[in-house]
Symmetry: C2
């Protein structure tokens, strides 16, 4: 990644001033400093507050930016909105390179906020004297190392609390602080294998927007998956151009959740980030031209990100044809999955003769297997039980045989995971098995059992889902992306 | 419910013979007897097995039905498929009224199974000499009392293990044993407030089908919600007629998941329950004419059932117009929910003036509330914090005020539930609040926190969902049903 990119100063500043710093642990101006310190920010921090004396977390307060002798790369604002323009004047005087404005109360609050924005444009000479991220945002986070490691942290400039995290290959760029805050944190807690590289809250996008951050993440080889939540497109032409660039990068995927797709949603987004309404047709045209993965809701946005993250970090192959196998200990699950498989444009291929021969041996005579890759495993359990053979061994033989079938690109399984019943799968085998094909598991059972086994499987890049439809949908977006990538 | 309904003998038999009874606890023929006994079956049980001597669970084995002196109401089969026709002859000789055939290996296994079926039709004189449920099913369950109560149980004739259960107002009629077995059991464990009245596994429907069981449940006032999983329609005309009847019953709803809607699904269902393919258009026409709620996947089938169960058991009103309010501590969540609200045909109405006046007081001057019922609560938290007022009290005042608004039929909320953070909602207030309007909560947080609070809220008939889209979809089906009911 280029050292001269405009985003660099916002993610790798050598010195930061926290404007609106506070001694009160309940205030954002305290939490920003605390987040920087506890997450091993390597640069220097200058707390600034004209009304505070003494120290905060061992750092001396300054009354104003102009008191500081060192050069300041980045000023982080957590102040009342009305003082922002004047302090920006100080920043410019001091040649501060970037301002990260977390303060709210601008475009999104109507007339008075628009006046403040005009003032900022005037003071900064249309952002030529200083670059701005925000306002109305939750800060920018760069994760260099897991929270559990000695070298934990990176650059944590937000006022939200961020505890258990893992470095990974996902970048999140959003116009909703929740997605960079509580929601993300809890996704990471529920899916501890989900690793994040950047969590970027861009707020109202007064100056810097999705464009600069997208560009930065595209050029950063540590990022494989870019999850976007946008309430408006700052520059549709450039956005499409950047997305098209990603189509030529084999291990990079962009997923977009667009807020404000409906008239009601636009009404909401205008009072959230001050976004102007965009025509539904324009939005659809942009997404289509961009050739990116679209999520319809928050849950899908993060699930898709998790799925792609796993695929790329494990070096698994994207499917080319959508040929899957479904294995379930229930005929009903088989029928339902068949309907959903078709709904999402996938299919169960005819299996190779060698696969069929192995399966025939494991199925009872009264219920032979299908020739196509939909396996109701129940009869094999019955046969194993009657012959006093281990069901686990039979299961292992079946899924390994099917994965080995060259007509099959990925396998769906159904697993009962319960703290009260023994598992039909040999979890140890599954957690050590290596394959470049996709293995997805539909988890049924009690919450504790599902959580426990999911975490084990996820570590070996086996995707787990608690809904059969979600599992199939997540495979279908891999196929969609593989088709996107083939477009020149 | 009529004492003379054909289903009665299958759910309320005074005497049962278990054919294929076994002493081996790992075999179905043992588990059926164990299930009957441990769940307080009040009638008499006769184990039958020509190859067994002595006793099973304190009950003496009989070599054959014909040895028994008492009249037998119901014979439960758990035998090899090939012996079924001959034993049915014994049943007829002994004037057994019903045969519940859990044995598999009939229509679903092709030619040999079809021959067996023909034999059964011949032996029973086309089911005129004895009525049959199944074959290829998991048994029938009637729950009279919670598993935790002294009088626990009812009639449990399946071979699956059924532990923690609660009597409720849901009847499940399915052609997939999994839905009557493991899947259902774990739904009940994850959602302990979800109570079941009947769990009816009807298998291949050789004789009795969804028609008789549907009729029975429609006439049973203890059932409010009927969840169906069907792979075929036995008698579409009669099915539509029964469904139309339900439209005139204010507190009864039918939800259908139809397996085998696609060519692939039909291929699957034919090897599962021997169902013949039905045209996609026929299926859609039936569902449309029937005017019932359709689920697209298993998860929705049970979630919808849970939602209707809650509405009916708490006496809440179905919405008439789809006018909802969304309250979230995040503008992004507001925008996303607005898009989804429109997608599902709901809307945020303009609130009453009195509501607006209360809200205006609680919002800061720099960020006044909307006039329409979408509330970003974040500014109210900020104001409360600045004024040193309890956020919880402000929250409580807001949601109570909005629920009281006569333009609002139901409210959506977003809650962070975490074991590590204090909750912004006053859970005690929520768990004791009485209203006939619908309150749904989108739960974000860590799994343990969500489970804990969900259970508390569910007990007070507040629906909880872990996906915002699911929450909104579940409200939309209530609106759909309210429209269904208005059709004469």
């Amino acid at each position: 990644m280029s050292d001269n990119h405009v985003v660099d100063i916002f993610l790798n500043p050598k010195t930061v001033a926290v404007i609106g710093a506070s001694k009160n642990p309940r205030k954002g101006g305290y939490r920003i400093i605390n987040n920087l310190l506890t997450n091993n920010y390597k640069g220097k921090i200058f707390p600034i507050n004209p009304n505070s004396d003494g120290e905060v977390l061992g750092l001396k307060f300054n009354k104003s930016l102009l008191e500081i002798k060192e050069d300041i790369d980045l000023a982080i604002f957590y102040t009342p909105n009305s003082v922002v323009p004047d302090i920006l004047k100080d920043c410019i005087k001091k040649s501060v390179k970037g301002a990260l404005i977390e303060t709210a109360g601008f475009e999104e609050v109507g007339e008075r906020g628009l006046k403040l924005r005009d003032k900022i444009i005037e003071v900064t000479d249309n952002f030529s004297k200083i670059r701005i991220v925000g306002p109305n945002c939750m800060g920018l986070t760069k994760i260099d190392d897991d929270s559990e490691s000695e070298e934990k942290g990176g650059f944590f400039s937000g006022f939200g609390v961020f505890n258990n995290y893992k470095r990974g290959n996902i970048a999140i760029i959003t116009q909703s602080g929740m997605l960079n805050g509580g929601y993300l944190m809890n996704m990471m807690e529920n899916y501890p294998e989900m690793g994040i590289r950047y969590s970027l809250s861009i707020g109202n996008k007064m100056d810097l927007s999705e464009i600069e951050f997208l560009e930065y993440c595209i050029n950063d080889p540590s990022v494989n998956v870019i999850a976007l939540y946008l309430e408006s497109f700052k520059d549709p032409r450039k956005f499409i151009e950047l997305c098209k660039q990603v189509k030529t990068i084999p291990n990079k995927t962009i997923i977009l959740l667009k807020g404000g797709r409906t008239t009601l949603g636009q009404k909401a987004s205008s009072s959230h980030t001050g976004s102007l309404a965009e025509s539904k047709h324009l939005i659809q045209a942009i997404i289509k031209q961009a050739g990116i993965i679209q999520a319809e809701n928050l849950h899908d946005l993060f699930q898709f990100a998790r799925t792609f993250s796993m695929i790329y970090s494990s070096g698994k192959k994207l499917p080319k044809y959508g040929n899957v196998s479904m294995m379930a200990g229930s005929g009903g699950a088989g029928t339902i999955s068949a309907d959903l498989t078709m709904k999402y444009g996938l299919t169960f291929p005819i299996m190779e003769e060698k696969t069929y021969q192995v399966l025939k041996e494991l199925y009872p005579e009264w219920m032979p297997p299908n020739r196509f890759a939909l396996l109701d495993l129940f009869p094999t359990f019955e046969k194993a039980r009657m012959n006093n053979v281990s069901q686990k061994d039979v299961m292992t033989r079946i899924w390994k045989t099917v994965i080995d079938d060259s007509n099959v690109e990925g396998v769906f399984n159904m697993m009962f995971a319960s703290k009260r019943f023994s598992n039909r799968y040999d979890i140890d085998e599954m957690t050590h098995f290596k394959t470049d094909k996709i293995i997805f598991m539909w988890m049924v059972g009690d919450t504790e059992g599902i959580l426990h086994i999911s975490r084990l499987l996820n570590r070996n890049h086996i995707g787990t889902f608690t809904s059969i439809e979600e599992m199939i949908k997540n495979f279908s977006i891999l196929l969609q992306e593989s088709k996107n990538k083939r477009i020149p």
